[in-house]
Symmetry: D2
Subunit: 323 residues, 4 copies
């Protein structure tokens, strides 16, 4: 049933996966607890997957998923970015429990040379990296700077090495108190591209957002908490087609005999599978302004991480100290 | 009827526009003459739009459009690239009628920083540029090097200046015998991305491939022949959806009452227009390997232009002298 | 006398050229008026070359040269950058006399791909470019945004086209009220790299900083005021050697018979010319952190230009709205 | 004696260090064996440091250093590059003793974003990386492709992680039969920039070329042979000054009383130390065309490694399959 699975609209966002599982009737999903809070410029949702039933139903590992939605980020307003950055700082502060002398490793997943996949490397390139300075920096300055290391290990296709093979060795050697992974995600809705930030304490499946499953980076495999921060930069092309079909199906469901035949999601997927060219499955959809959106979000995340990790950087100025 | 027009699958390729006008019945299109020749690794088609009727029917200006199709380019084989390069050289040689002392201006349209739009600037960055060397180079060497200038003027969104405003002034000053414009195109079919090259003697509408119409660069406006070389790098997201609908429509046309209601293209477009979210119209679809494909094609085109423009560079080695 | 001229330490800074002409005795230079003002974080000097005698003596065209020196910029402190940016805004405001509806063209000279030469293109890449938006933006917003266009025309070596050939044509078409050129400079002192900003109302000799003289961009050739903003990013290698010789000469001048023989600058230059390998004349010296310094200064200049050109951007936030 | 040591002209090339130890009299250096062979377009020298005395005298660890000198590489001729590539392939073939199923790890040391330091990352970016394909590729194709992995781990200043900390972990996991490190070097002579290739079986001191000593990457620390391939891209500024002094000293040594006082190298170093500004010690000298030279050499090395590592790539075509 590969082809049907494949057509199940893919999303890296737990929030979207939960919404899909709830369906139009918006029923509760067993094993999944949702909460939501509105801020002035953003909505923050918490999805808690609390048992294996929930895990199965939404297809995401047990743990906490925090989603910050700020549709106005598309407008590229600096002040709004700072507001959303503060919300991100607040959420990360609650997830991370760091001591003054802890080392933190930030991993920028993805590929520098492919814009929609470059979010992770761009964030690591903008961070205030300090681990190597600790021995040289005066104590009063260093007091406000935690030891931060950052690496963008490249992607399997260009290195021939699994990301996990690179990161495990580094974690063994530098012994961070936490690992923070940054990755570009695939969403179900094009409106989310560049406007939604997901934070998860379940770690990451490198390459997961683009369709492959690699060795996991999580607390189980690395032995320390692994926080994943992701932003959707693409939607799969099949998702776009399927959305159009679903819209058609729902608007004609009662009146047209044809769609009565295709009333069940399964039958609709079968239909799609029959009519979609196999090439489409390989394609991603991305807005024309993806480069600017990725750059904005990379700055926002790097600035927020600086404020979370270095006590001498305040959330007040979080876009000021990025490279 | 903006929305329906918008849903008319957009293509920059005269070959695809002609095929669409011919329809399933493959009737002749008045005012448009087609020819085709098979090479070992490529098919070359000539579309000649000979009168205003043809112009209207396929939506492309009168003139000659040569399309080189080589689906195997996707495999990124160096030898095949050289074979296709030789075909491109042959076609360009027939279109251009250059004297030894002529100057040629190559214009790389598009935006360096957006991969699917970077083909033009990448080609100019790889060319053997020689116009400034003529006074310094010994005559026996210079004999084999024509005066070539190349500029990538940027895009309106980042310069605030229309491409035509930049190019007209340069043409007035350096007085080239011909202008060759390189641009990324939008196709109707995803299979064409990175595998099809269109050469047109009708010049170019900068930004045309992405939806805008700016001041033209053509023989009429610049006073010298303007050859446009383009390669599809994107497909509009609406095209993907529409193709799926059409496939469904044609496979069920006879048996399902629903699709009998939607038998005419117009009624199908209306349906699509109702179910597609407006955001989709802004989206482009591009394969994940777009960066490598663009780089390959930029080398192929730069290498071919070197061989066409400089008699001392032979088609034999056309990938050898690119930067 | 090419070789001796060549050894005359080269500088693009009028301030350094004047200091050299004044010599150790710090005599006045006829035809050159100097003033200086200390700010908290910067020193601003005005060099006014008022007649052909001064022009001859310091080797710079008649006009005004404003130099902002802020040695602390090397420390890469954001707050200091903003302070220096405000000084730059103040000086530019005095030089430029713009009306609300004026168009301004910013030209980023130099080569994107060579770090020490990339200052100009980096500044244009970070500017708030608006000329193309005027017809779409609501009047109340546009009121605070002047029409700004920006182009980085590339260098002769990669385009085969003189910068002046590109810019003259654009100026004819877009008719700016002023042209602002940004360029990387060569200084005499390595301490100035990344810490000194020169503003001149005499325009620019593209490539002048690297040794070539091309067609000028100035009020005479373009018909509108041309302001040049430059920052030293390199020192010629011969300058370094000569400085060491001079230091040696001055410390031993009275006591060692050898240096009595080489007491005159001319005899010292002759000596240097004899011992320096010709390759050294081609070399430039640049600090290892040149990439970061260039990026910092590009942001500082872009931010300052945004504040000068757009009334809705205040000097308060000048690093906030850069790309 | 830090300052004097510092003034001892620094070189990463064993060939230059040996020449310096031999002095003008060209005496043998105990513990160091030299051989030389002339090819049509290149000279190959072997420096074998065979005991601790030799190690001490030239300041390089015991082992083999092969230097390929091809001054014509500056002319950027493709054919010559291929000839030099074949010499490099020949030398690497002799040093490496690989079995068909061996994995090889290529490490690109240095910093993508600083041109003179970008050689290593550029080489890894151009390699035919295959380790991840072995399970998917048909046996007959895979037969000619050895498992090659490649990583550019970044520099301490931007990651906060020592290169050795990254590489040791990867070597433990992927268990290569050999590690090949690529790095930009500092030479004593500017003529060597971009024209000399050093191959050493002694491994590497990351950052060594720019002045720091980090944890070594060599057979002792990694447990497998480590081949270092380096190309000079910079000369320290102090070297340039010192060379000029030495030239002056030797031309006047007999006739001028001043230089009789400074006859010994130590006294000349003391003099230099007195007159050189401390900033100069931080500076590097690099030719203006460093970007093109680095790109050419990166292609030459990547092409040669492809031919050495993959039996299906022949030295005949070594510039053909690079990315």
């Amino acid at each position: 049933m590969q082809s049907l699975d494949h057509l199940n609209p893919f999303t890296d966002l737990a929030l979207e996966a939960t919404a899909a599982a709830r369906g139009d009737a918006k029923t509760e999903v067993p094993g999944v607890i949702m909460e939501e809070k509105k801020y002035e410029h953003a909505t923050v949702s918490w999805v808690r997957v609390v048992d294996p039933v929930g895990e199965q139903l939404i297809g995401k590992p047990m743990g906490n998923y925090i989603t910050i939605e700020a549709p106005q980020l598309r407008r590229r307003n600096r002040e709004l970015q700072e507001q959303v950055g503060k919300v991100l700082v607040e959420q990360l502060d609650q997830l991370l429990d760091l001591k003054e002398n802890d080392t933190v490793l930030v991993v920028g997943l993805g590929n520098w040379n492919a814009t929609p996949d470059a979010l992770g490397p761009r964030v690591t390139g903008k961070l205030l990296v300090t681990r190597h300075l600790r021995d040289y920096v005066p104590a009063d300055v260093a007091g406000g700077l935690r030891a931060v290391a950052a690496i963008a290990p490249g992607v399997l296709g260009t290195t021939g090495i699994e990301t996990a093979e690179v990161i495990h060795g580094i974690v063994e050697r530098i012994k961070p108190a936490a690992v923070i992974c940054i990755d570009a995600l695939a969403a179900r809705s094009v409106e989310r591209i560049g406007t939604t930030i997901q934070i998860a304490d379940t770690g990451i499946q490198p390459g997961g957002g683009i369709g492959n499953r690699r060795q996991a980076l999580n607390k189980e495999t690395l032995g320390v908490p692994v926080i994943a921060i992701g932003v959707p930069t693409v939607v799969h092309a099949t998702t776009i087609v399927q959305d159009a079909f679903e819209a058609m199906a729902s608007s004609f469901a009662e009146t047209k005999p044809f769609f009565q035949l295709f009333r069940s999601p399964e039958s609709r997927r079968k239909l799609l599978s029959d009519v979609l060219s196999p090439t489409v499955g390989e394609l991603v959809v991305t807005p024309k302004e993806i480069d600017e959106l990725t750059e904005d979000l990379a700055k926002l995340i790097a600035g927020s991480l600086n404020a979370v990790l270095h006590t001498s950087v305040t959330a007040q100025d979080l876009l000021r100290y990025i490279n």
